[in-house]
């Protein structure tokens, strides 16, 4: 118990330390990429929960990210001024709409970002429940292909739909207002605040997942992962737990999509692409599958390097190679929990204790 909170506190300390370092060295512009990294990490830990703890792979999580991002982007940029339906007037009365100025000085009447965010999460939950039910009945490579397919369908829809901006995506998404006049936006003036907000949310999500893992549900999931039939025999509703974990990780992805879209001020179809989904799985894999901290730290490093452009044109290839290497040499993930003890056993392996392969 205490160890869990100690780790969270240590991580929060690291976040503060990074910010202070950038302050001292005058490299505050790094914080922009670090903030984006925080949001991407939110997807990664959600996916880690699904892959590592529930034992279900998903190669379509970029699709959920895109659902969240696109719903909020569309609702907060679509001008409702010339629409006079019953719904519009109802929203108007309940304060669900805001009018603001666009970059050309014209006035816009759009859905309030908070309402858009709620709508995005709701849609994701509905989609995840509808799709998750039948998909999670599949196993192994069929599950992988089905989730991959879902991701591609979302990608094709956002790419081919005119009012979602087709290949250009949606831009000029307004900032996300918070109480106290604060705003989630990529503006340089609120960079430090947004950095702390993003990582604060990340830590909150992390604490939630860590508590979940150490709860009855987490232990049930571990049983499902270990031996599904045995878990079923012990009276664990395996299908329901798997589905709920799937939806939870989809919501993490969608929330990251919503916030990052407001932070970046736009979203494009490449966010829904297969490469993004593969990248998240690769990060979970290198992080050790069932290791939230491993996934988080790897996500911090790799996403940051990628966003800073260190991989250049080999960006996708780097994550492809990572995935291959992990699957070849350490199919249980690299930074897994018993890594140290495993290494010790390999080093001090005596001939008698060697198990037959």
């Amino acid at each position: 118990m205490a160890r869990r909170y100690f780790a969270i506190a240590a991580f929060a300390g690291l976040i503060v330390a990074i910010q202070l370092t950038t302050l001292v060295t005058g490299t505050a512009y790094y914080l922009t990429q670090l903030t984006m990294t925080a949001y991407y990490s939110l997807i990664v830990v959600g996916l880690c929960m699904l892959i590592g703890y529930a034992g279900q792979i998903s190669l379509g999580h970029a699709g959920f990210f895109a659902i969240g991002g696109y719903v909020t982007a569309f609702l907060t940029t679509f001008d409702l001024k010339s629409h006079h339906g019953a719904l519009v007037s109802l929203l108007m009365k309940s304060g669900g709409l805001v009018s603001r100025q666009d970059v050309y000085g014209g006035s816009l009447l759009t859905v309030h970002p908070w309402l858009a965010c709620v709508a995005a999460i709701l849609l994701t939950v509905v989609v995840a429940y509808l799709v998750g039910g039948p998909v999670l009945k599949l196993k192994g490579h069929y599950l992988a292909m089905a989730t991959l397919g879902i991701g591609i369908i979302v990608y094709r829809i956002v790419l081919g739909t005119e009012f979602l901006g087709a290949a250009d995506g949606i831009s000029e998404v307004p900032g996300f207002p918070l109480p106290g006049g604060l705003l989630i936006t990529g503006d340089a003036s609120s960079r430090v605040f947004n950095y702390y907000l993003a990582w604060g949310l990340m830590i909150l999500g992390m604490a939630l997942l860590l508590n979940l893992i150490h709860s009855r549900i987490g232990r049930a999931l571990a049983a499902v992962h270990g031996a599904e039939d045995a878990a079923e025999a012990m009276g664990i509703p395996t299908a329901r737990y798997k589905l709920h974990t799937f939806v939870l990780s989809a919501v993490f992805a969608a929330l990251a999509g919503v916030l990052l879209t407001h932070y970046n001020g736009g979203i494009g179809p490449s966010e829904a692409g297969v490469m993004k989904s593969v990248r998240y799985v690769a990060i979970v894999a290198i992080g050790g599958m069932a290791n939230l901290w491993g996934a988080l730290s790897m996500s911090l490093v790799l996403n940051y390097l990628s966003l800073r452009g260190y991989f250049g044109t080999y960006d996708d290839a780097v994550f492809g190679v990572i995935l291959i290497l992990i699957m070849l040499f350490a199919p249980d993930g690299l930074l897994r929990r018993h890594l140290l003890s495993d290494l010790k056993r390999v080093v001090s392996r005596d001939p008698e204790g060697e198990e037959a392969p």
Partner: protein
């Protein structure tokens, strides 16, 4: 994709039939190398692990292709005639290349059926697919069979790429959608049944082409994947496969 791209490149130096032959052989070698380097030495790999590895490999090939060939769109010239000439078949005008595609497809199926039913090697491969351990007990080198199946499917993929690319063109990223479509067709037809796969391929192709009547063209790709999902959800044995045979494979 690899087959088509290689053939286009080689076509600049050697005559087309030779270029296609070389491209197919090269792709077969690549297929064999992939199997030997990434799959062969794994101890009892799960199918999921192999799928993820091959997804990784396909990303790698795609990125390498991008760096070699750039993102331009290429095509082979038509095998006979040109893009405007056509052949009159009982009142229907068909481009000659379409006949090449249909011919190559028919030939590939015939060759595969003959291979699996008539030759010793083909029967060994089927035995290996049905039960690996039993096949090994009968003295079949299962490792070599897997390599061979990789080579075989690489060859067929390359031939397909060469024949089709005068019509559809190839690009560095044209492989992935085709791979998913291939998987869809294989499931639809029931795995391990090449004749049914052709029927399933035709159904999928027709459904996809007609979908543009009711949906925007841009959604065409999504259609085949949606069909894949529906099949997986409701009838994982495929349209032509038997339910008993499917139960033996793990879903």
């Amino acid at each position: 994709m690899l087959g088509g791209m290689t053939a286009v490149t080689l076509n600049q130096f050697v005559p087309m039939p030779l270029a296609i032959l070389l491209a197919v052989v090269l792709t077969m070698i690549v297929g064999a190398v992939i199997e030997i380097v990434f799959i062969r030495w794994l101890y009892k790999p799960s199918v999921l692990r192999m799928v993820i590895i091959t997804i990784g490999v396909s990303i790698l090939i795609r990125e390498i292709a991008l760096h070699i060939w750039g993102d331009g769109v290429r095509a082979l010239p038509y095998f006979t005639g040109s893009s405007v000439t056509s052949i009159n078949l009982g009142g229907v005008y068909v481009s000659s290349q379409v006949l090449w595609v249909v011919g190559a497809g028919g030939l590939a199926v015939a060759a595969l059926t003959a291979f699996f039913n008539l030759t010793m090697l083909g029967r060994q491969m089927r035995a290996c697919a049905a039960n690996r351990d039993a096949a090994r007990l009968c003295g079949i080198d299962t490792g070599n069979m897997v390599t061979l199946s990789f080579i075989l499917s690489a060859a067929i993929g390359a031939i397909g790429g060469c024949v089709v690319c005068p019509i559809t063109y190839v690009q560095y990223d044209s492989g992935t959608p085709l791979a998913i479509k291939g998987f869809t067709v294989a499931i639809l037809g029931g795995l391990g049944n090449s004749t049914a796969a052709v029927g399933a391929g035709m159904i999928l192709g027709i459904l996809e082409s007609f979908s543009i009547w009711v949906l925007p063209t841009a959604y065409k790709e999504a259609i085949s994947i949606a069909i894949l999902l529906v099949i997986l959800f409701f009838k994982p044995s495929g349209i032509f496969g038997s339910a008993e045979a499917a139960r033996l494979k793990e879903f």
